[in-house]
């Protein structure tokens, strides 16, 4: 009888466990771990030292907490095959109501933090509360707001959460997918000491044994300026299984070594001390290739896997009350189209990026291919390199005569010239600017190109008012998602990176800007992927015609990793957005 009972119990428990586990699709790896290889360490690097263990005050891209929860904590998970969100820490898809503004999410049961405490709705509530507290200064604070209004999170029961959005948003599932931090650690401190208590927690001086993680990894040791070592969170494997039902991750450890700079990281990779490193340019690729060919390194190397999710552009200042002639010129769409025709993007890719880049014509990065295709089929124009066309457009503006130096002059004899600045020290941008200035000279436009201090440049770009202190700026942006690939701070009028027109009242100067602002919010609120991309296509068409910002080129993404690693994506899944692997599925051969 006892035996039968035990068996029944085992079956029930086994059944419950099976129900509560997330199964990582076998299709997410090109090479699966069929030999049951376990253990080993994945060796990564970082260029700057870690600043804190605290998930709320951290402002770095690859912080300790980011590493602990990367691809391994959050309600939903984006499938690299089709960009769709699938329930991850959520037990199932959310129940949507209230005109797409309310999402009720059931949480997967049986999940535990690395310290053994159950992960429940309270953890999400506390995390949200602390992130949105102004005094804590969390970098994630803005992700919990939509058009300035807060998103609220409510606990319905221990395993049910309710999210209320001020308006429908395509990014809703992404916004909900933040990592939950333990209520039994942070909630207690927050209730007792508020924001100040939170800021004092989990500093670099905190013993790693006190750090608790919801993700695949938990901090094992940290030595300032040297390395952080993570060990696998054994409780995570309870609800994360591979296609054959085995616990993940396969690896025992993940280490991040702090190196002096990207060159040192490359050197360590070439010496076989790191498992993967970012390939920045043709030089890096050549060195890696050489090492592989010489037999010193056994590594996988693939160049030009996809464009990077970044942009480089030139923006013209529409708020130049001190120089009405220039303001009028910069506000003339023919002038800006002429400037786009002057930009020799092919030469920029060849000369500044060593041939490893992509031409760009829109604020949407070329990597977000579905959106780009939608824009092109909506008729979004590309003003390609064409000096004759540029001359024609400038002629329409009254610039038909050239002076003795070969520069175009207006009727009063004033030379057609403007200042263009970029941040000093960024060699790629400096080259882009030179190429642009050289081409401009061919049609008679005098471009005074000067690299200046980065901080000065940023304060010029983000300044507000009727008379902003610059003519034109060459800079870049990165960040953004493939759900709605337009910047919330870039497209709508009055936002701080609406760089070309930013008057005191934040009003649009043209009807196209108004339309773009409207389309931006309309697309952001559209939950249907195809419809949203169509709205994005409309937006790209208006933006392309207005040419408020001249988009230039972007670098490409290359993949290199040591051959001892397995579990990478299939070749067609690799790109700059998803990378080349999920660490939980990675194993050492």
């Amino acid at each position: 009888m006892k035996k039968v009972l035990t068996l029944a119990l085992a079956l029930t428990v086994g059944n419950a466990a099976a129900q509560s586990a997330f199964v990582w699709p076998a299709a997410w790896t090109g090479e699966q771990n069929t030999a049951n290889k376990r253990g080993g360490e994945l060796r990564l690097s970082a260029i700057s030292d870690f600043k804190t263990f605290n998930p709320f005050t951290s402002s770095e891209a690859d912080s300790i907490t980011q590493r602990m929860t990367e691809d391994s904590a959050g309600l939903f998970f984006q499938d690299p095959r089709n960009d769709e969100f699938i329930p991850y820490m959520a037990a199932s898809a959310p129940v949507v109501s209230n005109n797409n503004k309310r999402f009720v999410v059931k949480i997967r049961q049986g999940m535990k933090f690395s310290d053994g405490q159950a992960i429940t709705a309270d953890d999400w509530i506390t995390t949200w509360k602390i992130h949105t507290d102004d005094k804590v200064g969390s970098n994630s604070r803005d992700t919990f707001f939509l058009i300035g209004k807060p998103i609220t999170v409510k606990k319905l029961d221990t395993y049910t959460l309710q999210f209320d959005f001020p308006q429908p948003s395509a990014s809703a599932l992404s916004i909900m997918s933040y990592a939950p931090w333990p209520d039994h650690v942070f909630g207690k401190a927050y209730r007792e000491g508020g924001a100040e208590a939170i800021k004092k927690m989990w500093t670099l001086a905190t013993p790693p044994s006190q750090i608790v993680s919801p993700g695949a990894w938990v901090l094992e040791s940290y030595r300032a300026g040297e390395r952080a070592v993570f060990k696998k969170n054994n409780n995570w494997g309870d609800w994360n299984k591979d296609g054959r039902g085995q616990e993940l991750p396969y690896l025992n450890n993940l280490s991040v070594r702090i190196v002096a700079d990207a060159n040192a990281a490359l050197a360590a990779f070439l010496a076989g001390q790191l498992d993967t490193v970012a390939m920045r340019n043709a030089d890096d690729l050549a060195q890696t290739k050489k090492a592989i060919d010489a037999g010193n390194l056994k590594a996988f190397l693939k160049a030009n896997v996809s464009p990077q999710a970044t942009s480089q552009w030139i923006t013209f200042n529409w708020n130049k009350a001190s120089d009405p002639a220039k303001q009028k010129l910069f506000r003339d769409v023919r002038f800006r189209r002429a400037m786009s025709h002057i930009a020799n993007r092919q030469a920029m890719v060849q000369l500044a990026l060593g041939g490893l880049g992509s031409e760009t014509y829109f604020s949407t990065y070329p990597i977000f291919k579905q959106q780009i295709d939608a824009g092109l089929s909506a008729g979004a124009p590309t003003y390609k390199y064409n000096l004759a066309e540029a001359s024609r457009l400038l002629g329409q503006l009254g610039y038909t005569k050239k002076n003795a130096q070969g520069f175009l002059v207006d009727k009063a004899g004033k030379v057609l010239e403007f200042n263009l600045s970029t941040n000093a020290g960024n060699t790629v941008r400096e080259q882009l600017g030179r190429i642009f200035a050289d081409e401009a000279k061919k049609v008679g436009v005098k471009v005074n190109f000067t690299p200046i201090d980065f901080n000065t440049l940023v304060s010029q770009l983000t300044s507000k008012g009727e008379n902003r202190p610059f003519d034109a700026i060459l800079l870049g942006l990165s960040g953004g998602s493939n759900i709605w690939s337009f910047g919330s701070n870039v497209v709508p009028c009055g936002t701080n990176l609406h760089s070309y027109n930013n008057p005191t009242d934040g009003k649009c100067a043209t009807s196209q800007e108004q339309l773009m602002t409207k389309l931006y919010y309309q697309g952001d609120a559209e939950l249907n992927d195809a419809k949203r991309r169509a709205i994005g296509g409309q937006l790209m068409k208006v933006e392309g015609e207005l040419q408020p910002v001249i988009y230039l080129v972007g670098g490409n993404y290359h993949v290199a990793y040591n051959e001892r690693l397995g579990g990478e994506f299939t070749a067609n899944m690799m790109d700059a957005y998803y990378g080349h692997r999920y660490f939980p599925l990675t194993f050492v051969k």
């Binding site: 390395r227 002096a260 010496a271 304060s459």
Partner: protein, 327 residues
């Protein structure tokens, strides 16, 4: 002695005040602040930036910031909060200072162990082939910045490593799995990592001191009392080490005060080249990100130590040279 120290303390107040003023406002002169890069982030709203500015006190007038910083420093020994680390400056800096200290101490040992014998040898065997050979090598090294020498050394180590498979550490302070090591293993592991950077630093710095010692020794060796001592029949060893060397090193003792701030300011770019977790990489990072209080706090710490170090070397000088009195 006590009045001397008291006078020193009083004298140091205006020095420190002016130094702190200069440090703080020179940093302020640089355009932008810690939050500038955040302004280019499409995901951070201007409201959030404004909230952070008031959190960090960056929205206040620089003079107000300075006074607040001074007040906290004097009354609470609080050097301010590092923006990046969200931690008191001292908590961030002290582990790094300790790391640098090990490197600098080992470097000093090598430094004197190389410079003193070579300097004395050069003086005793003046213009011999050996002296000339040492001179050539030292002049060569004198013209080399230490970080460049470090790069060359790393290159050669890598060649040796590729050829022999010998695992010579070239960066960091510890090996993988350091935490699991036995105490003695740990000491050996750190020493292994320190050896090459310390040696590189000592060799490139020793050139200067060797020349100084050589010159001073030569000068003293020609003086009457050495001749007298030799005439009285003291052994060559006593003549050189007891009579000559002791008198020749006085100017070096006077310079020891500079070692204290040097010890905490770390080993400079050599640390960067060897990816050693010392002070320099941290300060460079702080300058890069305009982490105001970390830079200012650390520089003030250095200035204080310079003042203390100078007082110390004055005292030391009095101990070595009975002609000098403090007080």
């Amino acid at each position: 002695m006590i009045p001397f120290l008291l006078r020193r303390v009083v004298q140091s107040i205006p020095t420190l005040f002016l130094a702190s003023l200069l440090i703080f406002f020179v940093i302020q002169l640089a355009p932008g602040d810690f939050l500038t890069p955040a302004k280019l982030n499409p995901n951070i709203s201007p409201e959030q930036i404004a909230a952070l500015e008031s959190n960090f006190g960056l929205d206040r007038h620089p003079i107000e910031q300075y006074l607040l910083w001074m007040k906290n420093m004097i009354f609470n020994l609080n050097f301010g909060l590092s923006f990046q680390y969200q931690q008191p400056v001292l908590d961030v800096a002290i582990p790094r200072v300790l790391n640098s200290l090990w490197l600098v101490l080992l470097n000093l040992i090598f430094f004197y162990a190389i410079a003193i014998p070579l300097g004395v040898f050069g003086a005793v065997r003046q213009n011999s082939l050996g002296d000339k050979a040492v001179n050539v090598v030292l002049y060569f090294l004198l013209g080399f910045p230490s970080f460049f020498l470090a790069l060359i050394v790393i290159y050669f180590i890598l060649q040796v490593r590729n050829a022999t498979g010998w695992d010579i550490p070239i960066n960091g302070m510890t090996s993988n799995g350091f935490d699991a090591m036995a105490p003695l293993e740990k000491v050996w592991d750190v020493l292994k990592h320190l050896l090459i950077p310390a040696l590189v630093l000592a060799i490139s710095d020793a050139a200067g001191l060797t020349r100084v010692i050589r010159g001073l020794m030569l000068e003293v060796m020609r003086s009457d009392y050495i001749r007298t001592a030799r005439a009285k029949g003291v052994s060559e060893r006593t003549a050189i080490w007891k009579h000559t060397f002791r008198n020749a090193i006085l100017p070096i003792v006077a310079g020891i005060g500079g070692l204290l701030p040097a010890a905490i300011s770390g080993a400079g770019l050599t640390e960067v080249v060897f990816a050693y977790p010392g002070i320099t990489p941290m300060i460079l990072d702080a300058i890069n990100t305009q982490d105001l209080y970390l830079i200012a706090g650390f520089t003030v710490l250095g200035t204080v130590l310079l003042v203390i170090g100078n007082a110390l070397s004055d005292i030391l000088l009095a101990v070595v040279d009975p002609r000098i009195k403090v007080g």
